[in-house]
Symmetry: C2
Amino acid sequence: MKAVPMVEFWRGGLLESLHHGHAVICDADGAIVEAWGDPDAVIFPRSSCKMIQALPLIESGAADAFGVGASRLALACASHQGAAVHSDLVTRWLADLGLGDDDLRCGPQMPRDADAMKHVLCGGESPCRIHNNCSGKHSGFLTLARHLGAGPEYHEADHPVQIAVRHAFEEVTGVASPGYGIDGCSAPNFATTVHGLARAMAFYAGAGDGSDTRSKAAARLVSAMTAFPELVAGEGRACTNLMRAMGGKVAVKTGAEAVFVAILPERRMGIALKILDGAERASEAAIVALLIRLGALDPGHPVVRRYLSGPIRNHAGQAVGERRLAAGFAA
Amino acid sequence: MKAVPMVEFWRGGLLESLHHGHAVICDADGAIVEAWGDPDAVIFPRSSCKMIQALPLIESGAADAFGVGASRLALACASHQGAAVHSDLVTRWLADLGLGDDDLRCGPQMPRDADAMKHVLCGGESPCRIHNNCSGKHSGFLTLARHLGAGPEYHEADHPVQIAVRHAFEEVTGVASPGYGIDGCSAPNFATTVHGLARAMAFYAGAGDGSDTRSKAAARLVSAMTAFPELVAGEGRACTNLMRAMGGKVAVKTGAEAVFVAILPERRMGIALKILDGAERASEAAIVALLIRLGALDPGHPVVRRYLSGPIRNHAGQAVGERRLAAGFAA
């Protein structure tokens, strides 16, 4: 099945651009509640699966052995924007391990946070690896590597850390990964289907009921994400804004190339979507529409105007266009 | 007819994202030489039609009356990145008219040029209207308004300047515009078909043969664009890099929401393409593919690697993915 029209961009009463995608809403049993496009489409979750990549950190006992609390677990699941709050916490985490910026295997990245970017640019500094949006995930990898007594190249696919990640990933998605790609942060990113990713999110949504090690680890990660929404992304970012708008009842996470997932514990449901062309503006509008559809997000909340229903403004602040949901999607 | 697959983004041996689009290659008689997708698809050319919006500036006699030379004509056709070379020329142009930043009706825009952006950010300044990528086009509008003795609100659809632009636009595209939208710079942007935009570009390609006022004006604009590629966009930008790579023999111009056009005088052909989802990365790859197909661009030139055939690298500089042309497009 092909991707279906999901989000339209209009200007002057005419359709200017259109985004197609795949989306699946799954229940805690792994069954599809509703789907658009092809549930079996193979995608790279990219950063949307960081809460899965963090499972071995807890299941192995590494998190408890190294005193990794909720804020650091939130950072392990984060695509942060390199604000001071993020880089300071990562720096302290690394220091507690006796490690530093050079031990991270992600490349340096200019902070997306305006103040931090200005600090780097105007101070004549260069961005560091701790500024990389994945530095929290990598700090988790380093913590696990230390706990396992494994080597420093924790980002290599055959390293014990990544082998543990792959096992956890295939188990919670319920799909043997057809392969992996190297992510923007140099770690392997395992491919799965949209249904597989939604199934994993539904497992997290129902994890609070379980007493097994994995369920408890998953529930702990969801609690960490919803308790520290500002650490999962940052001020002004969709993940942070949406988790705040839903009062911490739902965890959401974006991934590069327009992937978005949601974990809804009260509904025991998970959502996964991928916009075919990789446009973030469309994945944000689509996840907002699905969260409203499931009753998790108030359609009257200001974030809905920002990501879906509000006008698109030009440099002069004029309303010049609008987003619309394509016929047949989530309406 | 629907948009067809054009540009694919691969990672780890798997297709990660896909862009669909429409493209038309037209000859100087307005006939379609080759097309993909729907030639009759209605699009907003956005900034790709600035050389059309600049026609009345010359045809009216305003350019000659106010001594608007080739460099200013290039700026009138530009989506510049607000580098010093651009903002200084616009400032002098406005000063020659006894006007300043406040007379521009485009909103302020942070310069895309790295040095200029750093200057604004680190100097604690705010971006100005002259930094807006369309400030050259607006300086042309102001020059025409002055020549016509018309009022200061030159950006309004019923102003003599925009009425003249619409007439020229509909004549060179050969299509009655189905409507207009307000562009990022607050000026009207008239809709047309992909075929209509390609037909207009083919007219510019063959304009050197004509001795009529319009043909001479069009040829003068093409000469200005190819003589000053750095003014049409800026260092590091696709339009500038591609015009340099083709030795000034071809004029190209990008437009917001992934429109790209090309004017090929030696072939007497014009190209227009629109990526359905509005992704610039795909419109750049697609225009490069079509320029190679028409023998205008050397497939071995470094810009081809940059926009089409080269690897996609992550923050650590690793090659992690690649672009491919979709089966059936321009191969």
